[in-house]
Subunit: 122 residues, 2 copies
């Protein structure tokens, strides 16, 4: 049987829209998603789960109410559950997110156009 | 408050031993571990969980009873729960593993010297 690796970076050739995470893999009830981010997101938190950011290309800042973390390509950060955060990228950054299936990108509330459709595979 | 990114690749400067995963981050009840692999591991499976491999540097083959997958740097693969597998690297490869806390590297049985200590942070 032939098995194929998943190459997250290669998935970015398949889409150009920003702030719309696409699922590339599942592990138990968790999903790996790739997303292009640029500019400021909305403040939000996830009451029930941590959320992992891995920067694949570019630079990402994650703002917290009491500070921030700067991530370069190859860096990762786990935002603790319940912690308010706001991603920001001065120029487009390619990111992989890891979180349980069904988690809304805008956190516990629907925030209109910023709330992305879930379970979109690429 | 100052927050620090985690840089998995930088953790490899802190150890040289092979087949001994080191925890670099936790997300809920999952752990991210970095490990150096070279040569052949033992056949094993994890009855209760999938296991994710992300290759950071080098090349990794994961053998299955009915095939294999070849991973280059930047590639990932999720081994389904219960599936027998055996990692192999012709030369040393740097890998990040993601799996629930408490999972033994040799699967459901202790396999002697190949069974690594768990929860070793770096």
């Amino acid at each position: 049987m032939a098995y194929s690796p998943i190459t997250p970076m290669a998935k970015f050739e398949l889409f150009s829209e920003q702030w719309q995470p696409k699922v590339v893999a599942e592990m138990n009830d968790y999903q790996f998603k790739v997303v292009r981010l640029e500019g400021d997101f909305v403040w939000h938190s996830h009451a029930d789960t941590d959320e992992t950011f891995i920067v694949l290309d570019g630079s990402l800042r994650i703002d917290f109410r009491d500070g921030a973390v700067e991530l370069a390509a190859g860096d990762m950060f786990v935002v603790p559950k319940g912690k308010e955060h706001k991603p920001f990228a001065a120029s487009e950054v390619k990111v992989m997110l890891i979180e349980p299936s069904g988690v809304l990108n805008t956190g516990d509330e629907d925030q209109g156009e910023r709330t992305a459709q879930n379970d979109v595979w690429i």
